[in-house]
Symmetry: C2
Subunit: 158 residues, 2 copies
Amino acid sequence: MAKLDLFRFVPFRLNRLAAEVSAALSSEYQERYGLDIPEWRVLATLGFRNDACSAQYISHCTRTHKSTISRAVTALMRRQLVERVENADDRREFSLRMTRKGRALYEELIPRLLRKEREIMSCLTADERASFALALGKIEKSLDLVLTSKEAGKTQAY
Amino acid sequence: MAKLDLFRFVPFRLNRLAAEVSAALSSEYQERYGLDIPEWRVLATLGFRNDACSAQYISHCTRTHKSTISRAVTALMRRQLVERVENADDRREFSLRMTRKGRALYEELIPRLLRKEREIMSCLTADERASFALALGKIEKSLDLVLTSKEAGKTQAY
DNA sequence: CTAAGATAGTCTCACATGCAACTATCTTAA
DNA sequence: TTAAGATAGTTGCATGTGAGACTATCTTAG
C-alpha cells in the first residue's frame, strides 16, 4: 500500500517553507515600505547591477512573468522610485534605473532584509548553512534555474 | 553602499525553487489527474492517516487556509474521490475519508510523485540529501512549522 | 438554564498573477 | 525594399487564494 508522508516530502516542505519565509520578510518590505514581492525584485535587480537594465532582463533573471514585472515597474515609477528612458538603439525597450529616492529606500531596506535572513538561518551552524547553500545551488542547477555564462554574457550587454 | 545578491539570498532562492519544483510536479497531479495543489494536499493527508479526519485538521497540518481546503473538499466530493459524514459528537464538523475511487487514484499517484521527487533530488549525494533534510527540519522548527507533540496529540483525537 | 464566546465550515469580496492578445518596433530573408 | 517573423512591453481576462463575515453548533461561566 503506497504511502507518502507529506512532512517528509521535499516539494511540500519547500512550498510551505518558502511561504513562511516570505511572510516573515514581508513585514519588512510590505508593511514598512509598501513594496510587494515583484516590486522588491525589480529594486533588488537594479540595485545589484549598478547599471540600468531592461524590464525583460529583470523578468528573465528573476524568473518572473513579464506582465508582473511590467506592473511592478509602473507602480515603482508612480512612486518615483524608478525611472526609465527609451533606449535609442531599440525603441521597443526602456532602460530602467533607480531614482535617488529609490536608491535611498533600497539602501535602507537591504540591511533589514539581510538581518532577517541571518535571523532565519541562525538556527543552522556555519557548516550547515554552507551545505544548505550548496545543496540549493545543485538543485537549482539541475532544474536549470541558474543563468548560464552565455546568458549572463548576453544579459550584461543590456 | 549596501548590496544584496538576489541569487545568494535564501528567501528568493526558496521562492523560486519551490515554484519550479511545484511546476515540475504539477505535470503529475494536474495534467494527469486534474488535481490542484490544495486537492492534492487533502488526499495526501487522508492517505497518510488511514483514519478519517476533519477539514480543520487538514487545514491545520498542511498550513493551508480553511477556505482553500473547503473548496478543495467540495471539488473532491463532486468527483467522488472523497466522502464525508457528519460527526455525531460535534455536528459542526465532518469526518472526511477517501472513497474507493479516491484511494485508487491515490495509490496510482503516490509512486509517480515519489519518483519525481527522487529525480529532483538525484543531483545530491545521499549525504547531501540527509543534510539538506536536516537543515530543512531545523529551519521549519525555528519558524514553528512543526506540529508540537501537544498539537499532534490533540489532532490525533480527531 | 442561559448568555457569551469559541469553533467548523461556507461564502463573498478583493487582489495578485499567469496567459494570451495586442501594439510598436526590430530583424532577416527574398 | 518589403514581407514575415521575432521581441519588448502593456493590457484585458480568467483563475486561485487569503481575509473576514456569516451560520450553525458547541462550550463554559454565571
